[in-house]
Symmetry: C2
Subunit: 397 residues, 2 copies
């Protein structure tokens, strides 16, 4: 039987593609260091679980489609502390940031419509855009330039009649790039001049390591009609399993369209919304401690990665990933070899292969994304294994 | 700025459209009986909350995209008791039955592809199909015939080159129709002969009031490639707010495509999956008690509705809705009048207007869907109000 052309165009997840091979390696007794997914090992704040245990309604009822007011107001309070005042109807609670992206894509894209995204990008964007019938038009970058992209000359020539939006992730996944006020202002200006949406995925906002201020495109006045922000509790509070995200925009027409989709899927899980609301009461010391921990991991990771000959990458400024070009022919072949034919004292590692983070065919073949979400001892050992493995792989095993 | 044509085609929810008017009535001190949404008032089993409170992992991590094994196996155990043996990869856990439907629609439908659905149907199907670019082709029924549709002569002539699937809800929402083995067999045969999927939404399976056996299209051997079942914990366990549903199929190619979408949205809420798994340990006495309660409500509702002159409806055999034609010109106008200009001793009522349950323009204008999910005293009072209101409305207020 026939499937839709849009689902046929989609790939299996870049992060989860080698999971079966990893499972087989683990069955053979090999320890696998998982640098492939952004699942933090930081404890979820106790406030979440306390709120969960405190739920005492007799009926676990649907929440309103737009979200429970207790969570909507908690999110508004958080943004208010960033200087951004949002009305309730400017906040839509979603099943993680992923659903927020799905909703925006379906609201904006007809078949063949384009969305400009700097590549490499979070690979699921490609699937989301494909499923909405749209096309990712990549803004090119390179590992040698540290994957920076925010230049008018690079982006403006790509805007055409079918362009509906520019989409960025800031801080960047997979690149760790952090944009400054000037770069954001240029992107906002570009979107406004060309009557486009600027969709900004800001789920890693707190994860900046150079003392940068916490920035949101919502902080810039004058672009209310153009700005859409995707946000989430997953990374900020190490609560990935809550599946609580949000879509934020002052474009009332967009929010009206988005609500149709929200109503169609009824609601987001009720107790998770109540528990997520409690997370927003945490004070800044929580974020400071988490940021310090990730900064140490980033520093260790970068220091050890720099020592591996032939690896090209830029020191990430934010989020918790490093995108790097390895001195191998094909990262997927290398990954398969790592899981099937290699081990160093019974241990090996996994990364996410680079190609699915690109829309341009052939790009990213020798690149990988590694998440520094493990503790320092494990990260250190994983990079020792990587160094040994690259050497052995290049010498023809 | 422009939105996609597919979102423009979608309507705001039939069930939630009059929510603002209802809120205003309530602000004026009017009590509103809500027959508009299928939110049961039955207590959620304590097992759910116990499991929730028992969660003691330090990190609330992503679940696997296909679902936690503890829940997948619980679902498999439930189906095994119905005589249906499913492998783990034949069960995909989703954000409610709603997401299961979204996934199927995206996997099957290209722009302009058709899906046959007897009308009236659960109105969100229309939105889901529209968003996937498809078209609902309605199989006609009438209130006078009790909304029955399962006849080969009625359906087969509608199958064309663009038809990809037949979709049914059994027991029926909004009609309460319950299909027998012969009718299901005919539908399965039709799907197989024409190489179509038969998508069966079975979320109301336990809610049958005439002593019928619990049926699933999965119980029929020989149609493995054609059958897709949508199921959910929401109604079965009065756990609508858990947002735990599932997609079930033995068509391996479909499940592979579906997994791409599941990976793209990462996972379903972790604690809700663990808590939902605990619900499957309940024995049949739970379902017997719930069924008895709804049967009493159905009987009371039907008995009182029959006494209102000019109302045309069929006694529902299952689920917990009555679809009825009222002796009014336009149910939406009547609903607005009920909320804005009418009250009986300070009380009024809400139903879901019929038109959004139809794909054929103009059909269902004088019909309404009412959910008998309130206690008997409230249901009784709501129908007394309806009788008074119809009489007053017809006499020109």
């Amino acid at each position: 039987m026939k499937f839709s052309s849009k689902i046929e165009r989609c790939q299996a997840s870049a992060m989860r593609r080698f999971a079966p091979a990893a499972a087989r390696a683990e069955e053979r007794g090999i320890k696998v260091y998982h640098l492939n997914i952004g699942q933090p090992d930081i404890r979820t704040p106790e406030a979440y679980f306390e709120a969960l245990r405190g739920f005492d309604e007799p009926v676990l009822a649907y929440a309103p489609s737009g979200g429970l007011n207790v969570l909507v107001d908690a999110v508004r309070g958080y943004y208010s502390r960033l200087g951004v005042e949002l009305a309730r109807e400017e906040v839509l609670i979603t099943n993680g940031g992923s659903e927020a992206m799905q909703i925006v894509a379906s609201c904006l894209l007809d078949d063949g419509d384009e969305i400009l995204i700097p590549e490499p990008f979070y690979s699921n964007y490609q699937t989301v855009v494909n499923l909405a019938g749209g096309v990712v038009k990549p803004v090119p970058t390179s590992p040698e330039e540290g994957y920076r992209f925010a230049e008018r000359e690079r982006i403006e020539p790509l805007i055409g009649e079918k362009t509906r939006a520019i989409m960025i992730t800031n801080p960047g996944n997979p690149t760790g790039t952090v944009l400054d006020r000037g770069e954001l202002k240029m992107l906002l200006e570009l979107a406004k001049e060309h009557d486009l949406f600027l969709i900004c995925d800001e789920v890693y906002r707190e994860f900046v390591y150079g003392g940068e201020e916490l920035l949101s495109v919502l902080q810039f006045p004058g672009y209310e009609e153009n700005v859409v922000v995707i946000d989430s509790c997953s990374k900020r509070f190490s609560a990935c399993g809550a599946r609580v995200g949000m879509l934020l925009s002052r474009n009332a027409a967009l929010m009206t369209q988005a609500m149709k989709m929200a109503q169609c899927r009824l609601s987001v899980a009720t107790v998770d919304q109540i528990a997520a609301a409690a997370l927003y009461d945490l004070d800044s010391s929580y974020f400071d401690a988490t940021r310090d921990e990730y900064r140490r991991r980033r520093d260790l990771f970068v220091e050890k990665l720099e020592r591996i000959p032939g690896v090209v990458f830029a020191r990430p400024m934010g989020a918790f990933y490093v995108m790097a070009a390895l001195p191998v022919d094909d990262a997927a072949k290398f990954q398969q070899w790592l899981l099937e034919d290699f081990n160093d004292k019974g241990e090996t590692l996994m990364f996410a292969c680079g190609e699915p983070f690109y829309a341009t065919p052939g790009r990213g073949r020798n690149e990988v994304r590694m998440a520094y979400v493990l503790n320092e001892a494990d990260l250190s050992r994983a990079l020792d294994i990587l160094a040994v493995a690259i050497e052995r792989y290049r010498s023809g095993f």
